[in-house]
């Protein structure tokens, strides 16, 4: 028997990378609590139950688009159109609830279908027409945003049906004080985690992000995987839009796009530890990151920091996350 090649000097390197990932998640959690308590000291109403509930619910919307963005970024792509899809969904289904009395259980699958179709078009542009994701989704961002304007025709959603309102605000299981949207996010997160870690499709996504030609040579269908990723992204964004309009009861033609939700979703994915170059994702980080960002934004509102600085802050966060992430990737 030939001698063995020595084991690597530090046993359990995988444990190390997992520890690093957990460190990030823990750091984010600590940071979130730090902000909550810190701002709470200055403005006690920040820690009131209703505000906490508010922050949690707004992180649901952000978390959903964050998850879609995470999937896309893992394939080395980017999806700028998520905010437009969100806005379109919010407007369309908000209106449908009031004017057409569409019940929630009908609206839900329908909105995800619409989102899937819109996302599928993105996927087609990227995987078949070979248009770089940034340009493709920039184009569809304007297309879908325009559709929202046309559909709404100047209308706004000021209220939604009781049905919708319940969906957005009430607790799903009586007695358990967890609003439905939160449960929805939990279900989606678990499902996303399952797909990513325990299904071939999810592993294909990571393989493509690492090295698309090696994945192709190994027999993975790159085109179909990409198509699927953007489709999922669209469906989740639409779902997020539905939850948004159900929870807030309002939607305008600039919902989503106005707050630059696409930028927020990218920030949330990057802060959560997903690598911008693709091939490495952190769903838990994204979800915690969305709670963190949501808390931070609410805190800024409470501290009466002018709204204009929010997107600057998000932009700065992205730059920092990318620069630090690059260093970390090089080190490990």
């Amino acid at each position: 028997m030939s001698s063995t090649i020595a084991a690597m000097p530090e046993p359990g390197r995988r444990a190390k990378s997992r520890r690093r990932r957990e460190l990030r998640e823990v750091t984010l959690l600590i940071a979130t609590f730090a902000v909550i308590f810190g701002v709470g000291l200055l403005r006690p109403s920040f820690m009131s139950f209703s505000n906490l509930e508010f922050m949690v619910l707004s992180s649901v919307v952000l978390g959903l688009v964050g998850i879609s963005q995470t999937f896309v970024i893992m394939t080395r792509g980017i999806d700028l159109s998520v905010s437009a899809v969100l806005g379109l969904s919010a407007m369309v289904f908000g209106l449908l609830s009031t004017t057409n009395n569409m019940p929630v259980w009908q609206a839900l699958p329908l909105c995800m279908l619409v989102g899937a179709v819109l996302g599928c078009f993105n996927g087609f542009l990227v995987a078949w027409a070979k248009i770089p994701p940034i340009i493709a989704t920039l184009g569809t961002y304007s297309l879908y945003g325009g559709l929202t304007f046309i559909y709404s025709n100047g209308l706004q959603v000021d209220q939604v049906s009781q049905d919708f309102e319940n969906f957005g605000n009430a607790n799903l299981i009586p007695g358990l004080p967890i609003p439905t949207p939160v449960i929805a996010l939990l279900i989606v997160s678990v499902f996303a985690w399952f797909v990513l870690n325990h299904m071939k499709y999810g592993r294909n996504i990571l393989a493509i992000g690492n090295n698309a030609s090696a994945a192709y040579n190994a027999g993975i269908s790159v085109r179909r995987t990409l198509l699927g990723v953007y489709t999922i992204s669209g469906a989740l964004a639409a779902f997020a839009g539905l939850i948004f309009v159900a929870y807030t009861g309002s939607a305008t033609a600039t919902t989503g796009t106005g707050d630059h939700v696409e930028l927020q979703s990218i920030a949330v994915a990057l802060i959560g530890g997903t690598a911008i170059a693709g091939g490495r994702g952190n769903l838990a980080g994204t979800v915690i990151g969305s709670v963190f960002l949501s808390v931070v934004i609410t805190a800024l509102v409470f501290l009466q920091v002018p709204a204009i600085w929010y997107s600057a802050g998000e932009g700065a966060m992205i730059l920092i996350a990318v620069t630090l992430g690059a260093r970390q990737g090089a080190k490990s």
């Binding site: 995987a127 940034i134 325009g146 911008i276 002018p306 998000e314 730059l319």
Partner: protein
């Protein structure tokens, strides 16, 4: 050979499209044709996009992209307005300073991209939001307006009675950029970097330095566009540049410049500027909403690239195609 011929073919096709489009609108849209002078004055509505497109072309030719042009133009306009209204500076001095600020912002973009090694996409996406926040902050609740007739000449004035000042400036700039790209060492280096960054490096080109200059140029033209808009509306708003990005990128791509760098020229971009401008104005006059035109622009953007991909002179093997759809995202080490 194919790309050279194609460059010619693409330009010629654009020229034909422009003529057909213009003629079509004249015939089918009442109110479109308003006499010779009226027709020329239409250009005032869309030339700001063209200014941005010229600078953006330089960046895209290197294989990069600048998503912050909209916010730079808004910020420059706001800075100019504040300098004039709050500090009493001479308007022309303020204009020069504002444009210079645009250059500085572009230089910051360049630093982030070349020194911090953040890819242009993410870097300018992030700086876009940072600059726009600064613009909103500076503008305050009621941004200044009313800058006087002399300033207004830039945006709305005419030379010799019927040639709009904007058009004159644009033509001069277009010629200047064309000379820059085809006849100067700088332009040659830009194209080399766009086609083959490594080979340019081996030939002794200081790639990082040239790229930074490209982003400075983009910032300068964006700022200038903001100034023109300020002159046209005789007012500034921090978000007045937001609409510039999508249309300008479309003008560059429709003009035949490859999104991956290297290929394409200013003549095509100039024609594309006219085409998209005429299209925009014609549709507005015909009664379509602004939104529809924006959507149409998005559609044109996507189709131009798709068509260009079909006829790409870089060959079409799957390996290259697989690499290309991630092409705008460069690896951390290039």
């Amino acid at each position: 050979m194919k790309s050279l011929l194609f460059g010619g073919v693409w330009d010629r096709a654009l020229a034909l499209i422009l003529i057909a489009l213009f003629a079509g609108f004249c015939v089918f849209t009442p109110g479109f044709y308003n006499g010779f002078q009226g027709t020329l004055s239409i250009t005032e509505e869309f030339l700001p996009f063209g200014f941005v497109a010229l600078g953006l072309s330089v960046v895209i030719l290197t294989g990069g992209i600048d998503l912050s042009v909209g916010s730079i133009s808004g910020l420059a306009a706001v800075i100019m307005a504040i300098l004039v209204k709050s500090y009493g500076l001479n308007i022309w001095a303020a204009v020069v300073i504002a444009v210079a600020v645009g250059g500085v912002l572009g230089w910051v973009n360049g630093l982030i991209i070349t020194r911090l090694r953040v890819e242009p996409l993410i870097a300018t996406l992030a700086t876009n939001f940072i600059y726009s926040s600064v613009a909103v902050a500076l503008a305050g609740a009621s941004p200044p307006y009313g800058f006087g007739a002399a300033f207004g000449v830039l945006g709305t004035g005419a030379v010799v009675g019927w040639v709009p000042v904007q058009l004159l400036i644009f033509v001069v700039m277009a010629i200047g950029f064309s000379v820059l790209m085809t006849r100067t060492g700088f332009g040659r280096r830009i194209v080399m970097i766009g086609y083959n960054r490594d080979a340019a490096h081996y030939a002794g080109v200081s790639v990082a330095s040239v790229e930074r200059r490209a982003y400075v140029i983009s910032g300068l033209t964006a700022a200038f566009a903001g100034i023109i808009l300020a002159s046209y509306y005789d007012a500034v708003r921090p978000d007045m540049g937001d609409i510039l990005l999508l249309t300008s990128i479309t003008m560059v791509v429709l003009g035949g410049i490859s999104i991956f760098g290297g290929e394409g020229g200013i003549l095509g971009v100039t024609l594309a500027v006219m085409i998209l401008g005429v299209l925009r104005q014609g549709m507005l006059i015909a009664g379509f909403s602004d939104m529809v035109t924006t959507m149409l622009t998005g559609a044109i953007l996507l189709s131009s690239i798709a068509i260009k991909n079909l006829f790409s002179s870089r060959g079409f093997d799957l390996g290259a195609a697989v690499r290309r759809f991630t092409a705008l995202r460069r690896p951390a080490k290039s």
